[in-house]
């Protein structure tokens, strides 16, 4: 139960951070991605702030075998830098640049009641579903 509450709290704080930072606004994101126009460097500071806290947190978490709530630590095991990683990330970046939405801000904008965010999130879920279908067909 505590694990579920903690997850909800983390999601809530994450969403507040996206709103406060400006990341939940696609126009702001595109202003950052537009190096050829009038560039808005704000989002570099979002990353810097998040990573500053993250470095500390993951250093604290690193040596632990159980979390503060007694859960098993589930850190990614994959190490390989392969075609899936690179091509997938490139495709994600193209989609990000087209609309200015990545997954978190899409969900937060959905919570703001934006109809356009509903279209984006629906298509994103369809894309994720397509991935699952292909993976299952290939027996993974």
């Amino acid at each position: 139960m505590l694990v579920v509450l903690a997850a909800g709290l983390a999601g809530l704080v994450f969403g507040l951070g996206l709103i406060v930072s400006g990341m939940a606004n696609p126009a702001k994101v595109l202003g950052f991605l537009d190096l050829g126009g009038a560039w808005d460097p704000s989002l570099a500071l979002v990353m810097a702030g998040a990573i500053a806290v993250g470095l500390l947190a993951f250093r604290l978490a690193g040596p632990r075998s159980l979390s503060w709530l007694g859960e098993e630590m589930r850190m990614p095991k994959a190490r390989d830098i392969d075609r899936r990683l690179v091509l997938g990330s490139l495709a994600f970046g193209i989609g990000w640049g087209l609309a200015g939405f990545c997954p978190g801000p899409g969900l937060v904008a959905l919570g703001m009641g934006e109809g356009k965010a509903l279209i984006f999130v629906g298509a994103m879920l369809a894309g994720m579903g397509l991935f699952e279908l292909v993976e299952r067909a290939r027996g993974r």
Partner: protein, 144 residues
């Protein structure tokens, strides 16, 4: 390149970034997991019984954040220029891409870089590079 000083919001960006970092810190220290939004959401499409509740709670927290924010301040409304076709194409690419690439801005960009993961560094450079290139093509070559 010119800097859009009038759009630059360093204080809010840094404060929001610290909150995002705090959320990732809470999630790894309390639950032992990576706060990667595409992974948390995508995992619901391959549901495992013990996993469903916390995934739904995390996504619910994200969606509820505007409601909490509104209790304290006026909510800044998102400006979304893309039309329906563009949003559908963007969503499909983001959905498939983040699952094949095993992460998005949060999982690779925030958590992965904080873990000093070379894999996440490559992913982050790839999606940032593709994002910069796409906006350049759309805004400056196609003139949309």
């Amino acid at each position: 390149m010119t800097i859009a000083w009038s759009q630059f919001t360093p204080g809010a960006a840094l404060a929001g970034g610290l909150l995002i970092g705090l959320a990732a810190a809470l999630f790894v220290l309390l639950n032992g997991r990576i706060a990667g939004i595409s992974g948390v959401l995508g995992g619901l499409l391959r549901p495992q019984r013990r996993d469903i509740a916390w995934r739904v709670a995390f996504i619910g927290g994200l969606i509820a954040a505007p409601w909490l924010y509104r209790l304290f301040a006026a909510l800044p409304l998102p400006q979304i220029e893309a039309g329906t076709g563009m949003l559908v194409a963007a969503g499909l690419l983001v959905g498939m891409g983040t699952r094949y690439g095993a992460g998005c801005t949060s999982g690779h960009g925030v958590c992965g870089l904080s873990r000093l993961s070379p894999r996440s560094l490559v992913a982050t450079l790839a999606f940032m590079g593709a994002g910069f290139a796409t906006v350049f093509v759309v805004r400056h070559l196609l003139g949309a």
